[in-house]
């Protein structure tokens, strides 16, 4: 549990004079579920873009999966998975075609893609859907599949950017079971969410406000520290002082 897969020290990201990330420092361990919370505009997206190799930090030290964010963005991209709130699957392609496409993009061998495909279909009881279009699937299934595709190439870290937006509570619950299962395989989960009940499921959470990390600890410790009974109350106390 102690191997660090994300290492961020004194990260600063500026857009002209606007400071989006102000001196962030944190570490995330292998297999950890790390919740990344904050109000809209707090700077979460900027941090995720830097961590996923899409944009370069202005200053500070950033290492993801052991690679440097300034010089090894390509290496970082190979070792992470990504799923965002909007759907990351192509609706006019079948389940199988989507999986083959993403497997191919990540440079997986054909035999390996085939193997993972049948594992996946079996695990999710998806066999009958193999040749169905994504647009024919119910929302919950699509989301599970999108997540499975994001971890298809067994990345070291998977970034989930509000993965459960617009989904009913039962499906969300099931989705989190999948997340737990994935984390137990040693894949680090870096998740942003607006649902505070989901924050309770995380191993550790950080809360951002105006470009700074204002709290970072396990949900239990934070609740104790602020003397409240839920993460939601912690969040409200911090974000709206």
């Amino acid at each position: 549990m102690n191997k660090k897969v994300i290492y961020v020290k004194n990260l600063v990201k500026k857009f002209d004079s606007f400071v989006a990330n102000d001196n962030l420092s944190f570490e995330v361990s292998e297999g950890e579920i790390f919740g990344f919370l904050g109000a809209n505009g707090a700077g979460k997206t900027t941090t995720i873009r830097i961590l996923s190799g899409l944009s370069k930090p202005t200053s500070g030290e950033v290492k993801v999966a052991g690679f440097d964010a300034y010089t090894q963005a390509e290496q970082i991209k190979k070792n992470i998975g990504y799923m965002c709130q909007k759907f990351s699957l192509y609706e006019d392609l079948t389940v199988k075609e989507n999986i083959v496409l993403y497997g191919g993009i990540y440079g997986m061998k054909k035999s390996l893609i085939k193997e993972r495909l049948s594992d996946l279909l079996e695990k999710l009881h998806f066999q009958e859907y193999e040749n169905r279009m994504i647009s024919d699937l119910p929302l919950g299934l699509r989301q599970k599949l999108a997540f499975s595709v994001a971890v298809l190439h067994e990345p070291k870290i998977v970034f989930l950017d509000e993965p459960t937006g617009g989904v009913d509570p039962i499906t969300r619950r099931q989705f989190w079971e999948t997340i737990y299962e994935t984390a137990s395989r040693g894949i680090t989960i870096f998740v942003t969410t607006h649902y505070m009940d989901e924050a309770e499921y995380c191993d550790r959470i950080s809360i951002m406000n105006e470009g700074k990390i204002v709290a970072l600890d396990t949900p239990e410790m934070l609740k104790k520290q602020y003397n409240v009974s839920s993460v939601e109350e912690v969040f409200i106390k911090i974000a709206r002082p």
């Binding site: 857009f15 996923s52 190799g53 899409l54 944009s55 370069k56 390509e74 991209k77 190979k78 992470i80 990504y82 799923m83 965002c84 709130q85 909007k86 759907f87 990351s88 699957l89 192509y90 609706e91 006019d92 392609l93 075609e97 083959v100 496409l101 993403y102 191919g104 993009i105 990540y106 440079g107 970034f159």
Partner: protein, 369 residues
């Protein structure tokens, strides 16, 4: 490379699964060629003409027969007096009335002079002008014949007009190059901008950018299928215009295809540029259609000659790529010229392509930052 090919394959799947895309790609060009070639013809064939013959003699009968047998006209009605002219025009089928004055034949033979009026329906100015020109030509011809050798002594210059490159003055010589120009820029720019903004809108672009695919691979992967399909489109249009209208390619077919490829490339990079400035598909469609279709039809020299436009439109038109491609394609197809005469236009298209690509890359980078 394998990653790239998988990505290209996916793009083909998108295209072949979407009937609307397929229709726009292949249905519209074929329809345009046929519509422009047949319906929007500026030639005259079987135009309705009525005759008001107040003289009824040998000469008028002969002249009427000559006019009607020319193939350009079809006799609709025979009128009896002037009041009928208005009525017959209102019925719609008649586009012109030929009026012979009373005693036409006698006057012509005795006085050497007789008058004939051609009254045309001015509500359709183009047709009216054409009909009067054609009729005048036939009448002149007739009088020359009638005069015969007996009036040889009077000096007379008879100019013989010849239309070089297009002896029959067929309008599809003008329309086919124009349609190729219009279709290619519309389809390439529209399709590329829509397909890229679609990825943005559905959130799949984010996922692609986070993947090990490089941005340049993503863009190339998206436009490669359109490049191939547009090229097939060129072959389709040229084949169709050859089969249906018998329009040949006078110059080098290889040069023509190479120029088409350049033009497709230019249109695709324009499409990429449009996609970098538009946030959603509606915006991309709007910019492509309004921003490209109207100027191409009106200002590129497709239909209206640039030389006749006010200077200001001339300047506006000089930033439109279609203007240069029309010159290129007309030269190769109809005049049969080689690269020597069109290198300037070709160079301009190459520069435009590079500028569009350069601007897109810059825009794209800013977005990534």
């Amino acid at each position: 490379m394998k990653r790239f090919l998988g990505f290209v394959k996916k793009e083909f799947l998108h295209i072949f699964r979407d009937y609307r895309t397929l229709f726009i790609l292949f249905g519209i060009p074929a329809a345009q060629i046929l519509i422009f070639g047949y319906a929007v013809s500026t030639d005259i064939r079987n135009a309705g003409v009525a005759v008001l013959d107040l003289s009824h003699d040998e000469v008028t009968t002969k002249l009427t027969d000559k006019i009607m047998s020319s193939g350009f006209f079809k006799r609709t009605e025979t009128l009896l007096n002037y009041n009928d002219i208005d009525k017959v025009f209102k019925k719609g089928k008649t586009k012109a009335v030929i009026v012979f004055e009373e005693g036409f034949g006698k006057k012509l033979i005795n006085e050497g002079k007789a008058s004939l009026s051609i009254i045309a329906d001015g509500s359709e100015p183009n047709t009216a002008t054409l009909i009067t020109n054609y009729t005048t030509a036939i009448v002149n011809d007739f009088t020359t014949d009638l005069a015969g050798p007996s009036r040889n002594n009077s000096l007379r210059i008879s100019p013989e007009v010849k239309m070089f490159y297009n002896p029959g003055l067929k309008s599809h010589y003008m329309f086919v190059p124009g349609v190729v120009t219009l279709i290619l820029i519309l389809i390439c720019a529209l399709m590329t901008s829509v397909t890229i903004t679609r990825e943005k809108e559905f959130g799949t672009m984010e996922v692609l950018l986070v993947s090990p695919l490089r941005p340049i691979q993503i863009i190339l992967g998206k436009v490669t299928p359109y490049f191939i399909l547009s090229f097939i489109n060129v072959l389709l249009i040229l084949g169709l215009s050859w089969l249906v209208f018998g329009l040949p390619v006078k110059g080098s077919i290889i040069l023509l295809l190479a120029e088409c490829m350049l033009y497709i490339l230019m249109s695709l990079s324009l499409g990429i540029l449009i996609s970098t400035v538009s946030d959603n598909m509606q915006q991309a469609i709007f910019i492509s259609l309004i921003g490209l279709m109207l100027p191409t039809v009106l200002l590129s020299g497709f239909i209206f000659p640039i030389e006749n436009m006010p200077k200001i439109y001339d300047y506006v038109s000089s930033i439109l790529p279609p203007r240069y491609f029309i010159v290129i394609i007309k030269n190769i197809m109809i005049k049969g010229t080689g690269i020597m005469y069109i290198w300037k236009e070709t160079l301009i298209l190459i520069i435009m392509t590079l500028v569009f690509i350069g601007l897109s890359v810059r825009k794209f980078k800013i977005r990534l930052e």
